[in-house]
């Protein structure tokens, strides 16, 4: 850690923003939030009308001249109606953010995804739809998965089309410029209403692969870089395992069947999970060219939410990285306490461990654990499915508040890790790799991501040099308001 830089961030930045904090935040203090701890800013509702495009201020460093594009992000941004709090982080309405960066300028804008759930609950000013942690109101009809779609987990841009992603229903098509909602995306008439996971895998040439999960039955989407569905097939994974993410190499799809089973997918979904470690972590490896060409691989029991990406060695060994837990954590109670402003600190010790999974051509998989803890692993989009060096994670933990405190990068080639500790005052989210112009490897990348400054009550977008993360941010843009914590993003 660069002490002088840290000193600047903690003292200089904070002081310079004292006026801005008093001037008014994006998140208005309401009666029920006034007595909340500072970190609860990350769980407070975003304005119903969203945020109109607003320039952010460069408050630190120099913006890279080659950094041009949009950081799109999604996250649950309506977690209470008055005293009624969402009982799971997955049940808040999705808000799509766009931070457009060009010529050293960053402009933020955001809109809620106008789902049926959003529209009816806004009209009633209360929660109605059943969900991951919510039973829902008996009067709320459910004739399709999209009737409960919160569209709150991630985003995908394919052929210029912006999609807001959930995992149990359709993607929602959005206007990539205005962020207005167009409606549920149907890839083919006979696939109307099929789920579309929030973790599609995009090959370097733009082809998109994704899964539709319905208990033990899993659909596979193959979508061309032109946005057209090229193929759809079905495989059976044997058990109704929770599948939030999966991974992919150049030649194979790798479906991780974790022993966290839910045979009864009725709301509240989270109540139906059972940890069955006797099964271990099983993986179905599917040939991209022939979905019927499959192989099962066994690994010790692990629970996970997120993978990095996979690659294949010349001898056929498949390797991928993921954030693994020894047993279910975090999502089990879904942050219901944090949403209410309560934090016991117990989850601070239940961190995901960055793990390399090695799948030999024959036999069981091996797990190689690193000393790096964290979540939201990300890799350079130029190397998805291919051999690479780096994986980045939101890392660090505090017993004093929820959320990550650091950005970490691990280099699988050198075995070295770097991190930058932001400290208590900044809640760290997912950082994305953005290739530098003319770069020769994933070491030639920027890492771009948001933090929530809970001391000043504002949002910041930080840029790091992926090869020199421990040197601290290259630059920071700051909004003079806050928006709640989110899940995942994409760069386009």
């Amino acid at each position: 850690m660069d002490l002088s830089r840290r000193h600047f961030m903690e003292a200089g930045l904070g002081a310079s923003l004292a006026g801005a904090v008093g001037a008014g935040l994006g998140l208005p203090a309401s009666a029920e939030t006034q007595n909340m701890p500072a970190w609860h800013l990350g769980y407070q509702n975003a304005p119903a009308g969203g945020f109109d495009p607003t320039p952010m201020k460069l408050v630190f460093g120099k913006a890279p001249s080659d950094l041009k594009g949009s950081l799109y992000r999604n996250g649950p941004s309506q977690l209470n109606y008055g005293d009624a709090y969402a009982s799971h982080w997955f049940d808040g309405d999705g808000m799509i953010h766009r931070i457009a960066i060009e010529d050293g300028q960053a402009v933020h804008q955001a809109r809620f995804v106008e789902t049926r759930k959003r529209e009816e609950e806004q009209a009633a000013q209360t929660f109605l739809a059943p969900g991951f942690g919510t039973i829902g109101d008996e009067s709320y009809s459910v004739e399709s998965p999209d009737d409960t779609n919160a569209a709150n987990t991630s985003v995908l841009v394919v052929n210029g089309e912006l999609l807001a992603l959930w995992e149990a229903g359709s993607a929602f098509s959005m206007d990539a410029e205005t962020l207005e909602t167009k409606g549920p995306k149907t890839w083919r008439d006979d696939l109307k209403g099929m789920p579309f996971l929030a973790h599609p895998k995009v090959e370097p040439d733009g082809r998109v692969w994704n899964l539709a999960v319905g208990g033990p039955r899993v659909g596979i989407y193959r979508i061309g870089a032109n946005g057209a569905l090229e193929d759809f097939g079905m495989v059976n994974i044997g058990r109704a395992a929770y599948i939030h993410d999966w991974t992919m190499s150049e030649r194979h799809l790798i479906i991780l069947v974790q022993p966290w089973i839910n045979e009864n997918l009725r709301p509240p979904v989270v109540a139906g999970f059972e940890w069955q470690p006797q099964h271990g972590l099983q993986m179905l490896i599917v040939d991209k060219d022939d979905f019927s060409n499959q192989r099962w691989v066994q690994a010790p029991p692990r629970m996970f939410y997120h993978t990095g990406s996979a690659w294949e060695e010349s001898d056929g060994t498949i390797k991928f990285d993921a954030a693994f837990y020894k047993e279910p954590v975090l999502g089990v109670d879904g942050g219901s306490a944090e949403i209410r402003g309560e934090w016991s600190g117990e989850y601070a010790t239940e961190e995901g461990v960055l793990t390399l999974v090695e799948i030999p051509p024959q036999g069981d998989a091996k797990l190689l654990e690193t000393g790096v803890i964290g979540e939201f692993p990300q890799v350079d989009p130029r190397y998805r499915g291919k051999h690479r060096n780096l994986v980045a994670l939101a890392s660090g933990a505090s017993t004093a508040r929820p959320g990550a405190t650091a950005l970490a990068v691990h280099n699988w080639t050198s075995g070295e890790s770097q991190s930058f500790e932001f400290g208590y005052n900044r809640m760290v989210e997912e950082f994305l790799f953005v290739p530098k112009q003319g770069g020769q490897s994933d070491l030639d990348s920027w890492l771009v991501g948001p933090v929530l400054n809970i001391k000043s009550g504002v949002r910041e977008i930080c840029v790091f040099d992926a090869a020199h993360v421990s040197d601290g941010p290259v630059c920071i843009w700051q909004a003079d308001y806050a928006w709640p914590l989110g899940f995942h993003g994409t760069w386009a």
């Binding site: 008996e138 709320y140 004739e143 399709s144 109307k192 209403g193 319905g214 659909g219």
Partner: protein, 140 residues
């Protein structure tokens, strides 16, 4: 045979004896049809048949606009419900996605909606009066 015949004769006699009381007409209007093609496949049910496959009456109605109408004549007054779907591609089936969710529009009388299943009888039922009834269903 004798018993069956006499039973049938009894039915016929009772029908003939009370034609006014049993001859209610029900007109069902289906509005808001999104695509002017295919057919509306409509089933009329009483409480006993609602949960099963056998409708008490039904109609396949060609769609060439955004609404269709059908009249059922000679119904016994009482409670009924309608279940229908729009067979957009005219293949005679209610098409579903690989997970079994309908991919063609469907609706119930009273515009009733289901919750993880079809609309319940109590939500979809309506009364066909002795002097006839018109019921309108709006697709969405």
């Amino acid at each position: 045979m004798t018993r069956t015949a006499s039973f049938a004769a009894l039915i016929a006699a009772s029908l003939a004896a009370a034609p006014v009381a049993l001859a209610s007409d029900l007109t069902v209007n289906v509005e808001g049809i999104a695509k002017a093609q295919g057919s509306i496949m409509l089933g009329l049910f009483d409480e006993a048949s609602y949960e099963g496959d056998g409708a008490v009456n039904g109609a396949n109605l060609k769609v060439d606009g955004n609404s269709v109408t059908v009249t059922f004549e000679g119904l016994e007054p009482g409670e009924y419900a309608v279940r229908l779907y729009h067979d957009v591609n005219d293949d005679g089936e209610m098409n579903t996605n690989p997970f079994g969710m309908p991919t063609e529009p469907f609706a119930f009388s009273n515009d009733a909606k289901g919750r993880f299943g079809p609309a319940k009888w109590d939500d979809a039922k309506f009364t066909v009066a002795a002097d006839g009834t018109t019921h309108t269903i709006t697709m969405n």
